[in-house]
């Protein structure tokens, strides 16, 4: 048992911070707030040049040969500076699934360019009728010679408008139901028949609805066996739920402490002297610590080859939502002034967190789905959803 940060992790953070100073510009951060794309191509290319898109891959595959802790330290340094990291992080969920399950030819076509930061892959799981129940998938794929013809609609395809590929879940067996008869395809986004419609969100993020009409894709782009998309999906979903998470609860805690230690209380002291503030910040500090520890637990268990379970993916976002609300109550109405106005408290960070937090308990599996996974897999309780 040793909670000391390894020296190579501290070094990775310092490298990450140096990278931030050079590559994460104020303009980039402002652009991200304005557009909500979650992607910066120059940032991805700069990361790719260092092997940091796929930092845990070996150098021979374009990675940097780092461990999970080093990789998290780098990603968190870039995130903390406001660098858009949704693109690289999400691309890697698809890339890791392709690396594990794709054909040699497909891997060669995609993975080296991913590692260089040249390829952006979005996730096409969710459909308007499905939500967390991804296996409701109705987007059809039909084999036609050496090609697949795809028709259907996906929603919440974040940065689809910028992506090179979509990691798309399709139903290839017409009479199949639920998790059976699915096929996973990576679709080049410049293929004719793809139409993208922007969806604005309350969380400063842009996402998309994507329509697929007679979209023809070479069989080369199939991931795993036809009809066995379930296996590919399961690996990709587990990777998402087990991602060493970079919970945002600790960032909220840091911002709140900084505010409380500087904001005058009008009686010659600071807000950090107020018992109501102190109790909240103490509870938030605990939740921040536990969020971090559960995140480290994921990285540690992954490293020793175990399955960590979705603890961090549940606890981090749940506490993030809870405290994003409490911090506005605590600071008062000025905390609701947004980042566009110079009067915003701490650059509008609390308003931003409140808007942004709610989606975190949904994507990657809603909290209810995660609790059911824990109940079934770790507590041995019966399945609560009907079998499909």
């Amino acid at each position: 048992m040793d909670f000391t940060e390894a020296s190579n992790v501290a070094e990775a953070r310092i490298l990450g911070q140096a990278f931030v100073r050079e590559h994460v510009t104020a303009e980039m951060v402002r652009d991200e707030l304005r557009t909500g794309d979650g992607v910066s191509r120059p940032l991805m290319e700069a990361m790719g040049a260092l092997g940091w898109i796929a930092p845990t891959w070996p150098e021979s595959e374009g990675g940097a040969g780092l461990d999970q802790f080093q990789a998290s330290a780098i990603f968190n340094a870039i995130r903390a500076a406001g660098g858009p990291m949704v693109g690289p992080g999400t691309t890697m969920l698809a890339a890791n699934a392709i690396r594990a399950m794709g054909s040699e030819e497909l891997k060669q076509a995609i993975l080296p360019a991913v590692a260089k930061g040249e390829l952006l892959i979005c996730l096409g799981y969710t459909e308007p009728e499905g939500g967390s129940d991804v296996f409701q998938c109705q987007t059809r794929s039909v084999r036609d010679g050496d090609q697949w013809v795809i028709n259907g609609q996906k929603i919440f395809t974040t940065y689809a408008h910028m992506a090179d590929f979509c990691f798309l879940l399709t139903r290839s067996e017409p009479d199949s139901k639920g998790p059976h008869g699915l096929t996973m395809v990576v679709v080049p986004m410049d293929t004719p028949g793809i139409e993208i419609q922007a969806v604005r969100t309350m969380g400063y993020e842009r996402t998309n609805i994507v329509y697929y009409s007679d979209v023809r894709v070479d069989d080369l782009y199939r991931v795993g066996d036809a009809g066995k998309g379930l296996h590919v999906m399961r690996a990709a979903l587990e990777a998402e739920q087990n991602v060493a998470p970079s919970s945002r609860t600790p960032r909220l805690s840091d911002a709140a402490q900084e505010w409380a230690l500087a904001a005058p209380d009008g009686r010659g002291g600071v807000m950090a002297d107020d018992p109501v503030v102190r109790e909240r910040l103490a509870l938030l500090a605990i939740d921040a610590e536990v969020s971090d520890l559960l995140g480290y637990r994921v990285a540690f268990i992954e490293q020793i080859g175990g399955k960590p379970g979705p603890h961090a993916a549940l606890f981090g976002p749940e506490t993030y939502v809870k405290w994003s609300k409490e911090m506005i109550d605590m600071i008062g109405p000025a905390a609701t002034i947004d980042w566009t106005d110079p009067e915003a408290v701490a650059g509008g960070v609390f308003e931003y967190h409140f808007r942004s937090a709610v989606a975190s308990t949904i994507y990657g599996g809603s909290s209810e789905v995660l609790r059911s996974l824990i109940a079934e897999q770790l507590l041995g309780l019966p399945r609560s959803r009907p079998k499909t």
């Binding site: 048992m1 040793d2 909670f3 000391t4 940060e5 992790v9 802790f69 402490q257 505010w259 409380a260 230690l261 500087a262 904001a263 005058p264 209380d265 009008g266 002291g269 600071v270 807000m271 950090a272 002297d273 018992p275 102190r278 109790e279 910040l281 103490a282 500090a285 605990i286 610590e289 536990v290 520890l293 559960l294 480290y296 637990r297 540690f300 020793i304 603890h311 549940l314 606890f315 600071i331 008062g332 109405p333 000025a334 905390a335 009067e343 408290v345 701490a346 209810e368 995660l370 609790r371 059911s372 824990i374 109940a375 770790l378 507590l379 041995g380 309780l381 019966p382 399945r383 609560s384």
Partner: protein, 348 residues
Amino acid sequence: MNLGLTQEQEAVREVFAALFAKESPPERVRAAEPVGHDPALWGHLIATGALGVAVPEAVGGAGAGLLEVALIAEEAGRRLAAVPFAEPVSAARLLVACGATELLNLVLAGAVIVSLATKPVPLADQLLADGAVADFVLAFDGDRLVAAGRPDDVRHLPNLGSVPFARWQAITSEVVLSDGATAKRLFARAVDEVRVLRAAALIGLAAQAIEIGAAYARERRAFTIPIGSYQAVAHPLADALVSKDGGQLLTWKACWAADAGEPKAPALASMAFAFAADTAYHAAQHSLHLHGGYGFMAEQDIQLYYRRAMGWATAFADPRRELHVIADRTLGPVGSIGPQESTDWEAG
């Protein structure tokens, strides 16, 4: 960073898990009520050297750290072991720090039980967690750290969590172990060790409360299906499991920080106690609740856990008041920041 236990630590855990499973089954826990002390189990703890695990080898201990005794405390909590542990372990380490080897030898030999009065107020004003069973209590009066001898007349106060509570009005002896700044520092460290060990016991308690609840929810049927199929039953158990695993890591980190002399150690100790107290209560409460009316019956084990989740935490401190200790240790004491000259912030 390595979040795994060493082979030796795993071995400590397994040995004591087996000991408590055998020597502290629910019948023995019930038999030890209302005082909450099982002399036979205590004898086993002395024989295995549990009290000296975190005492240096040079003075007769095993030379391990707080983490190893926390693993024992967790296993004790899992089986609701009716023995004093957190305060006596901390007291033994305090005796080492004060050089009181004579009394320490008696402790390790099992000749006497020495506990700790955790409040910095006069001894006579405290409800002592081990008062009914201890022979000596180490107490700090704001200046001196003393070993106080058990009064002739001690009355156990029957209570919710079967804690061996008693008040010591007229102590029979008093030996000064330390005074001034040293005494204050040593006492503060000892109280932090109690925080961590109580947290560990509460985490063990929570773990077993969750197991009991899950086992019942798998078997018990209502409206034709097992009640664990209902998300309103299952999901709070899942939340409890996550809090238990998080609280265990937090407690382990607090132990590691104390053993390594990390500056964050005191903050982590107070966080671990507050979080574990909350976790244990909610785990036991939901687990009891899902038993329906049966959970209310004395013959059900879950009520033993529910009462101790409350009793063991409150015996040390109000978890909400502990939040102010955490705030002192993370933000600094009230008034320590002082008025600011200029700032961009708007208090609202």
